[in-house]
């Protein structure tokens, strides 16, 4: 069968699914409140505590950490967004999507974009909060960091959704999340510089999209603690885009396969 691509048709489906994910979230008042309060609380408690003992060491650890935390927010929320797919499978909405004549790719992309938008929102709140803790951040850089955070969000939303496709049970999904979030975070350069890692850790970190996110965020937000050159930054950005697109494509492939696309 020849697959004819009708751009406006695809766009409408993408928009529909994006709208659904975002609107549905906004209608859950409790989730909206907690998604605003939680990151701020987290950063407040964590950041202030760190400042106390990190500054005397002669190294502004908070300035180093803050950009990574922005990425962390995009990552954690985006990754777990796959849960919405499991919810839809359980409560029937999934069937409603499957019986539609819409291109599967568009419906999946829309869904991931919607979830990524929500994750971005989360990390943007952190970004604003960071400004209060680390006033020295580069304000112009916020624009670029937002783009990087969106890539991280989309990258992990795609991965989370890919995982969720193969899981029925919400508890199983949460277990998988719990078991992978920590290693992904610690095997990246969110918490410590790549140069300080041993060979194996560094290899793992360089395979981890989060590392590219954290490095780029540092480069744009707090150039003084970044070891990247402009050329490297561009390189990292391209790598992150490629990883994200590849994960999204794999997700689409399996989505088609699993749903008689």
């Amino acid at each position: 069968m020849a697959r004819q691509v009708n751009v406006s048709r695809h766009f409408r489906v993408i928009y529909a699914m994006w709208y659904r994910q975002v609107k549905r979230f906004l209608n859950m008042k409790a989730r909206v409140v907690s998604s605003i309060v939680q990151p701020i609380m987290w950063l407040a408690l964590f950041g202030v505590g760190f400042r106390r003992f990190a500054t005397p060491m002669g190294f502004d650890y908070l300035a180093f950490l803050a950009p990574g935390v922005v990425m962390m927010a995009a990552f954690v929320v985006g990754f777990q967004a796959g849960a919405s797919l499991i919810w839809d499978k359980e409560f029937g909405y999934f069937k409603e999507i499957l019986v539609a004549p819409a291109p599967r790719a568009a419906s999946l992309i829309g869904r991931c974009l919607g979830d990524a938008t929500l994750a971005l929102l989360n990390s943007f709140i952190i970004l604003v909060a960071v400004y209060f803790f680390v006033p020295s951040i580069n304000v112009i850089g916020i624009l670029f960091v937002t783009a990087v955070a969106f890539l991280i969000a989309l990258c992990f939303t795609s991965l989370g959704t890919l995982i969720a496709m193969h899981i029925r049970n919400l508890e199983t999904f949460q277990l998988v999340m719990m078991l992978s979030i920590m290693p992904l975070m610690f095997l990246s350069s969110i918490f410590y510089p790549i140069d300080s890692m041993d060979f194996w850790m560094r290899t793992a970190a360089m395979l981890n999209p989060l590392t590219y996110g954290a490095e780029l965020a540092r480069y744009f937000l707090v150039p003084s603690v970044s070891s990247l050159s402009g050329m490297q930054a561009l390189q990292y950005f391209v790598i992150l885009v490629v990883i994200t697109l590849v994960l999204l494509e794999i997700s689409i492939f399996f989505f088609r396969k699993l749903t008689m696309g």
């Binding site: 409408r12 699914m17 659904r20 549905r24 019986v99 004549p101 008689m260």
Partner: protein, 338 residues
């Protein structure tokens, strides 16, 4: 058969689906004609949902195939999807979206452009009498309202066939009547072709032009409600006794006297098929007395579709035990979906 318009909209050709050892749908063949309401009537687990899922391209048959609006479900699933509307057995609305937004998302996914969509949504919400609820989150809707919204949603893309899987399952009598009216309205005013499944014989009787009775994955009878009921001539007398033992005793006495009597295994009711109930009732009561069987209740009616099902299978469609279980499950599902 007394069907006037003979355009086939749905043609099922030996559809078969197995789940492990169970053959859920067993070589089912039938046609649905343009403009008619065609019903699958059968008890729980008969294979109704499985059949519908194959027709609407959610499930791949193991054998056989079907075509909907001239498109093969296996070869052109997207063509089929474009031409149908579906109301699933389980609720498939998004509780955290308003009624309006549920329809909006659906319309966009089906490729309807924005201006046309708004008008269409308004018109359909009016049709199912939910205009005032348009902006309320669907999790606050009652079961009947949810169903109405789902019907409106299924009509958004102006389908040629509407599929409904147990459209009134778990609804109270008033909500059911409401849904029936909409469906009959659609048939009358829009000449909509409707395929529905149900395990309520009154629903099938009231709505369907033709019915396929399905049991254990097979069609065991097919025809108009009248044709099916005329499989049993005369009238049916229902004699309720106090115990299944009494019922058995009465049944055997009746049979000895040349009556055609049947009973179900659980509830002590004996069904007697007679020519004229008013004349036979006293005779049967006297016979019961002589047999020492205490009669708790007697009534009679012309045969119902349930009688047809009993006649064909020896079991009743109306299995109260499963009925109430289903109801609880439905309630749980609604409760959880909030």
């Amino acid at each position: 058969m007394t069907v006037m318009c003979m355009n086939e909209i749905v043609v099922s050709d030996n559809l078969t689906k197995r789940f492990g050892k169970i053959t859920a749908v067993d070589h089912i063949s039938f046609e649905v004609y343009e403009g008619e309401i065609f019903g699958f009537l059968g008890p729980n687990g008969a294979g109704k949902t499985t059949t519908i899922n194959m027709l609407i391209t959610l499930l791949r048959p193991d054998e056989g195939t079907a075509s909907v609006c001239g498109h093969d479900i296996l070869k052109e699933p997207n063509k089929v999807r474009e031409r149908i509307g579906v109301v699933f057995q389980d609720r498939t609305v998004d509780g955290y979206l308003s009624g309006w937004d549920n329809l909006k998302v659906h319309g966009l996914v089906y490729g309807i452009n924005n201006d046309a969509l708004e008008n269409k949504i308004r018109e359909l919400l009016k049709f199912v009498e939910l205009e005032e609820w348009a902006n309320v989150l669907v999790k606050y809707y009652s079961g009947g309202m949810t169903r109405r919204l789902e019907i409106a949603r299924a009509l958004l893309n102006e389908p040629e066939v509407l599929f409904l899987d147990e459209p009134t399952l778990g609804l109270d009598p008033q909500a059911r009547l409401h849904i029936w009216e909409y469906l009959l309205d659609l048939k009358r005013k829009k000449k909509m072709t409707i395929f529905l499944t149900t395990h309520y014989m009154d629903e099938a009787d009231r709505l369907c032009d033709r019915i396929a009775i399905i049991d254990h994955g097979k069609i065991i009878a097919m025809g108009s409600p009248q044709e099916l009921k005329s499989m049993i001539s005369g009238e049916i007398i229902y004699v309720r006794t106090n115990t299944p033992m009494d019922a058995l005793l009465l049944k055997q006495h009746l049979e000895k006297q040349g009556y055609s009597a049947k009973m179900l295994d659980r509830d002590g009711v004996v069904f007697v098929n007679v020519k004229r109930a008013s004349a036979e009732m006293p005779v049967i009561l006297e016979l019961a007395q002589r047999a020492g069987v205490k009669v708790a209740e007697v009534r009679y009616s012309t045969p119902t579709l349930d009688d047809v099902f009993i006649h064909l299978t020896g079991r009743s469609l109306r299995d109260e035990r499963i009925g109430s279980f289903e109801r609880i499950r439905e309630m749980m599902r609604r409760w959880r979906a909030r």
